[in-house]
């Protein structure tokens, strides 16, 4: 049983997705418990796999026993295992949150919704643990197709956003596929590790075909992760989708694509080719600076809460792309740490946005009016997420930014450090504005109105347990990741240090 743990990560959500589609059509009540159970199984399998990786190093799992260059391989090392645990636990928390919201927002499509939800998690987990470049494409499309449908289940404007996402997402995935094709022409292999071996053994790094493959794959992955000039599909999709959809897509899709970028740069093309031979580092770091500033400043202009968070995701993508391309070991550690931290903090604020929408029915910031009195516990959960996005010490966001900034200083990219600090300041402005509204109301000057409304709804009304519990657990996880950052960084360092990313290579 233990030896099969890599396969057991994928099997529960995948099989239960089919079961939910068949049974849930008749008995709507079973959809939710089945979903939560299967995702819990997946979380357990991920944690077991992580433990095995920490103890015994990289796990190689051959599907159906076919050896790598011909068969598909799941190859799990420190990076994979950590991201897989993150993906499955975010999936589980979002699933618990969905209990009341899915029947409320899509009353006649509950079983379809959960089927797509589970298939999305399967696709994302598959992308994370696979070691085969073409298999990654298939999983990418599984995740993409389900997310189109999950977004399109929202109201009117979500449908148009989903249409744009279909077009952009297909272009991105097709570019990736083309890049894999060029690599296959050059190496005759689809296994990521085998591709690297063949490239190195035959010294193919000077070949223009490999350069074309690298450009195609990188641009394709950038489109899918909404890196700044290619981000047009993201804000509306996440702002208008059903709240559960944005709570699962917002934290996971972009972060998994960043994992894919790290995997391709480190494992397939190798550090030497990406950072030293190509000499792109400077340009990409400047692009990420633009992404950070553009995302943060656009967020400042939004009144719609979820749209503001969507623009913050674009800024966060800039952090991580920049962190990877700093070509510095500390920066890389920071980027990987930030994948995990950002997944949970984005989940935290999106869950809160969902709760607020469920409670008030309003999309804009005025919904925060006087909420501290009504639901203090929910607000505490939100505060932890907001503090983490700003980067206030005991939370996870502080430590990931710390490593990223250290990487920026080590490699001499001061523009990146400055952009990070400006973005943190803007985050502080954004969230303290919200906290102010929650404490003092929309217009503190009009004392008369304010007093009146206070008397009117002074009673406490917390969010229901199914929504509050995942929010508080997420907040607790954020604090735990922050407090135990040393242990986490030790695992990441074990993964990163063998690649010998030369510090200060420009």
């Amino acid at each position: 049983m233990i030896e099969q743990s890599p396969a057991l990560i994928l099997i529960p959500p995948f099989l239960v997705a089919i079961l939910v589609a068949l049974v849930g059509f008749r008995y709507q009540k079973v959809c939710f418990p089945l979903t939560v159970l299967s995702l819990a199984g997946s979380v357990v399998a991920c944690v077991v796999t992580l433990m095995r990786v920490i103890e015994g190093g990289t796990i190689r799992y051959f599907i159906a026993g076919w050896a790598p260059p011909f068969g598909i391989e799941f190859r799990i090392d420190g990076l994979n295992a950590l991201v897989a645990v993150t993906v499955s636990s975010v999936g589980l928390l979002a699933a618990i949150y969905s209990k009341n919201r899915v029947p409320a927002e899509n009353p006649d499509k509950v079983s379809q919704y959960y089927t797509l939800f589970l298939l999305l998690i399967t696709g994302l987990l598959g992308m994370v643990i696979t070691g085969d470049a073409f298999n990654l494409y298939v999983m990418l499309e599984v995740a993409a197709l389900t997310s189109y449908a999950l977004i399109a289940m929202g109201p009117k404007r979500a449908t148009l956003a989903a249409y744009k996402y279909v077009i952009m997402g297909t272009i991105g995935a097709s570019f990736y596929l083309l890049g894999v094709g060029y690599l296959y022409i050059k190496t005759g292999s689809l296994n990521m590790f085998d591709i690297h071996e063949v490239l190195k053994a035959n010294d193919l790094f000077g070949s223009p075909a490999v350069l074309v493959a690298f450009i195609m794959i990188t641009v394709g992955v950038w489109i899918k992760m909404a890196f700044f000039p290619l981000h047009a599909w993201l804000p509306n999709s996440y702002a208008y989708a059903p709240t559960t959809s944005s709570a699962i897509l917002g934290p996971l899709v972009t972060k998994v694509m960043i994992y894919v970028m790290i995997r391709l740069t480190l494992t397939v093309f190798g550090v030497e080719y990406t950072f030293i031979q190509l000499e792109w580092s400077n340009i990409v770091v400047w692009m990420s600076v633009l992404a950070i500033l553009a995302g943060s400043i656009s967020a400042l202009a939004q009144t719609d809460l979820r749209k503001m968070l969507a623009f913050l995701i674009i800024a966060e993508v800039g952090y991580m792309v920049g962190g990877v391309w700093l070509a510095d070991e500390t920066g890389m550690i920071g980027a990987i740490y930030h994948i995990i931290a950002d997944a949970f903090m984005t989940l935290c604020v999106f869950l809160f946005a969902g709760i607020l929408f469920a409670k008030t029915g309003k999309r804009d910031l005025s919904a925060m009016d006087g909420q501290f009195k009504k639901m203090p516990l929910t607000l505490v959960g939100f505060l932890v997420g907001a503090f983490s996005l700003i980067g206030i010490p005991p939370t996870a966001g502080f430590f990931s930014k710390w490593y990223l900034i250290q990487g920026g200083i080590n490699s001499g990219h001061y523009e990146y450090v400055i952009a990070l600090l400006i973005s943190s300041l803007i985050n502080a402005v954004l969230f303290f504005r919200m906290i102010e509204i929650a404490y003092f109301g929309v217009k503190p000057a009009e004392g008369h109105d304010h007093d009146h409304s206070d008397d009117h709804d002074s009673g406490r009304s917390e969010a229901s347990a199914s929504m509050l519990i995942p929010l508080l657990i997420t907040a607790a996880i954020l604090l735990l990741i922050g407090i135990f950052n040393k242990d986490l960084v030790a695992i990441i360092t074990d993964f990163v240090s063998p690649f010998n990313i030369a510090s200060g290579a420009r």
Partner: protein
């Protein structure tokens, strides 16, 4: 002459790039949502063409061994099918020598494209379903009309 050679020897790559650009142009410039999806389909087909063309060899055939080829490889020993099992381990090595890989096309890329075709069909299906939903909600499949409705009324 050099230019002609550069095009004629790599004609498959040129053709796939031309088709891909036609698809990309339709996706970017067309206003009708269905036409955009057609462009997307053309775009994906170009990639399928690219993959299929890289597996092709001139004068090669499908990678299936005929009965007499196997016998030729086995030489004098291969009298009957039943003897296969007994000699298998020893003779499989010998069989490899007689089979020339240049005679066979590369089947792997074609198999990969079966998956890509399935993905393309399902993407088109999702796209059409979303277009249908847009038509139900906005009463139009022209992008500028939908944008106007959103701007004016919300």
């Amino acid at each position: 002459m050099e230019l002609f050679e550069a095009i004629s020897t790599k004609i498959n790559y040129w053709v796939y790039i031309v088709i891909m650009m036609i698809g990309l142009f339709a996706m970017i410039s067309k206003n009708n949502l269905i036409k955009k999806l057609i462009g997307m389909s053309i775009f994906q087909t170009a990639i399928i063409l690219f993959y299929v063309s890289i597996g092709v060899k001139e004068g090669a055939t499908i990678p299936i061994l005929y009965h007499d080829q196997v016998h030729a490889a086995h030489g004098d020993h291969g009298e009957a099918d039943t003897s296969h099992g007994e000699h298998g381990a020893v003779e499989s090595h010998e069989a490899d020598i007689h089979i020339n890989p240049d005679d066979f096309t590369n089947p792997l890329v074609h198999v990969l494209m079966l998956t890509a075709i399935v993905v393309g069909v399902s993407t088109l299906g999702v796209g059409l379903a979303i277009t249908q939903k847009l038509h139900r909600e906005f009463g139009s499949i022209e992008e500028h009309e939908i944008l106007e409705i959103i701007k004016s009324g919300k």
